[in-house]
């Protein structure tokens, strides 16, 4: 079993809508996430992960230049991540297809394998 990180991205606008939902809307939205994640957990493949606030700060380069972020030129931004176990990248992709992020045309899931580093 390998480990993967799923990175959820969407438009700035979508992320702000997500963060500002009414309690009822949020509950309905989170029910979808819970169903998807409970399915992964049942297979023993869920490790963890969290949603992120849309606001933050970005430090850059040797000068550690600070900007309000995280969005770059108003494009997609990271809204959260999940760590899972999967047999290979294809399995990880299959699992990702159920992600509620993909209910919006702007939503994306980037599937990246955790790199075991052998120094």
């Amino acid at each position: 079993m390998k480990e993967f990180m799923l990175v959820f991205r969407s438009s700035v606008q979508n992320e702000e809508v997500f963060a500002k939902q009414s309690p009822e809307q949020l509950q309905a939205e989170l029910a979808k996430w819970n169903t998807w994640m409970a399915g992964i957990a049942q297979q023993g493949k869920l490790i963890g992960g969290q949603p992120l606030y849309p606001q933050g700060k970005v430090l850059k380069g040797t000068s550690k230049k600070l900007t309000d972020g995280p969005f770059i030129e108003g494009k997609d931004m990271v809204g959260g991540y999940l760590l899972i176990k999967a047999t290979d990248i294809n399995d990880a992709v299959e699992i990702s297809k159920g992600c509620p992020s993909l209910n919006s045309p702007e939503g994306s899931v980037e599937v990246r394998e955790i790199m075991p580093v052998h120094p």
Binding site: Q27, M37, A38, A41
Partner: protein
């Protein structure tokens, strides 16, 4: 618990808290896992304190139970956030509880009142897990499922709080070290594990029914709780069995006669002098139905026979018309499958009713392992009764005086003194 709430509120919330805390601890133990039993108890304790505080100023909500469930859910979420990088929770729930994506929904799903009976049954099996000593099992049931405080458990067992706290501590340590799971035993282990649960409930009941603890409120609660737990067990397809029904029948027959045992001034009465009209006929009737269900297997347990004996007492219209012959047969049978000096002692009483006090004295002399009863006040008390009936008053008095030194219960002491006076 602080006692600063208005008096009108207190009886209601004492009762409510005792029941709701049992439910909530069962659910939270499922969520956190038995390894984190203490965390579950803390959340419930905090929830009840919060309720006490809030209700004092805002009044009791329309649905106090729902209020407590919501408050417990919010506390649980706080605790999960605080502990999620330090602790593992129950099995596959752990990862779901640690993520903000799924924690709230998972808790909403788990902390509701629908499957509460299942959770309480599982909790019973957790409490009676073989890694926990028998005395610890009963203490744990009282603490977690019945909402008793350590002080109340100590009172019920006539011991001090420190002893009970140690028993509970050792039990929690076992859960932690052995990583006990919140689940029903595997089918192969079920019959044996169910027997441990039945034993614990039987002990719980006897503590309430027979113990010399003089706090009547605690004793009533013990009796009521053991009936409730036995009923839960008999009402679930996995845990019901002929033995479960037999125990439940026995508890109904005994509990039905609980109030016959004291008179208006709280004096203990022997069976001969009890007013049978105040026995709880409804409870005794239910017991008869459970006894019928208990007979639908081919096994006979000590509970079956004890229930049979209690049934004979229940249906006798007065002391004189008791079917002693049938009861003696049942005692002989019971002694065959569960040989123990207590059974033999009770059997001797029946022998005395049937064949006279002299035969009763002879039966006492034949009790195997009688040393085990050396410090039990009823042995000299019963001997005294037989001696008095055969006219040996001075020997009877000696035995009653010995019995007096063996009990701390004011009610029992009083009954013994009354008998000395009657000689």
């Amino acid at each position: 618990m602080p006692a600063q709430h208005p008096d009108s509120v207190k009886p209601l919330i004492d009762h409510l808290f005792r029941h709701e805390s049992g439910k909530l601890i069962a659910i939270l133990t499922k969520i956190f896992g038995p390894v984190n039993l203490e965390l579950a108890e803390d959340v419930v304790q905090d929830t009840l304190l919060k309720a006490l505080d809030h209700w004092k100023f805002h009044g009791i909500p329309d649905n106090p139970s729902a209020w407590l469930f919501t408050a417990a859910r919010n506390k649980a979420l706080d605790v999960i956030r605080r502990e999620r990088y330090k602790k593992e929770f129950a099995g596959e729930l752990s990862a779901l509880l640690k993520s903000e994506y799924s924690a709230g929904t998972t808790l909403n799903f788990l902390i509701n009142e629908n499957e509460i009976q299942d959770e309480q049954l599982r909790m019973m099996f957790v409490c009676c897990h073989p890694v926990v000593a028998e005395e610890g099992q009963v203490a744990l049931i009282l603490k977690t499922l019945c909402g008793f405080s350590v002080a109340e458990i100590a009172k019920a067992f006539l011991t001090n709080e420190e002893t009970i706290a140690k028993r509970l501590y050792r039990a929690r340590e076992q859960f932690r070290q052995q990583n006990i799971r919140f689940e029903f035993p595997l089918p192969g282990d079920l019959p044996q594990r169910r027997e441990s649960v039945l034993t614990a409930i039987y002990l719980l009941f006897n503590e309430g029914y027979n113990s010399s603890s003089y706090d009547m409120v605690i004793r009533e609660d013990l009796v009521e709780e053991s009936l409730r737990l036995a009923y839960l067990l008999s009402n679930h397809p996995v845990t019901k069995s002929p033995n479960t029904f037999a125990l439940l029948a026995l508890l109904c027959f005994q509990a039905g006669r609980l109030y016959g045992r004291i008179d208006n001034e709280n004096h203990l009465l022997t069976l001969r002098h009890q007013d049978r009209s105040i026995w709880n006929k409804e409870l005794i009737g239910q017991g008869s139905l459970f006894l019928q269900q208990a007979s639908q297997g081919d096994s006979v347990s000590p509970y079956h026979i004890e229930a049979g004996i209690a049934y004979e007492h229940c249906i006798a219209v007065d002391f004189a018309s008791t079917n002693w012959k049938r009861i003696l047969e049942l005692y002989d049978w019971l002694h065959q499958i569960k040989p123990n000096p207590m059974v033999a002692l009770n059997r001797a009483i029946v022998v005395a009713e049937l064949e006279g006090a002299g035969a009763g004295l002879a039966a006492l002399d034949l009790i195997p392992d009688i040393q085990a009863l050396e410090n039990y006040y009823l042995l000299p008390a019963i001997r005294a009764d037989f001696l008095a009936r055969t006219g040996e008053k001075s020997k009877a008095k000696q035995n009653l005086e010995k019995a007096l030194t063996l009990t701390d219960s004011p009610a029992e002491k009083e009954l013994l003194k009354k008998k000395i006076g009657e000689l």
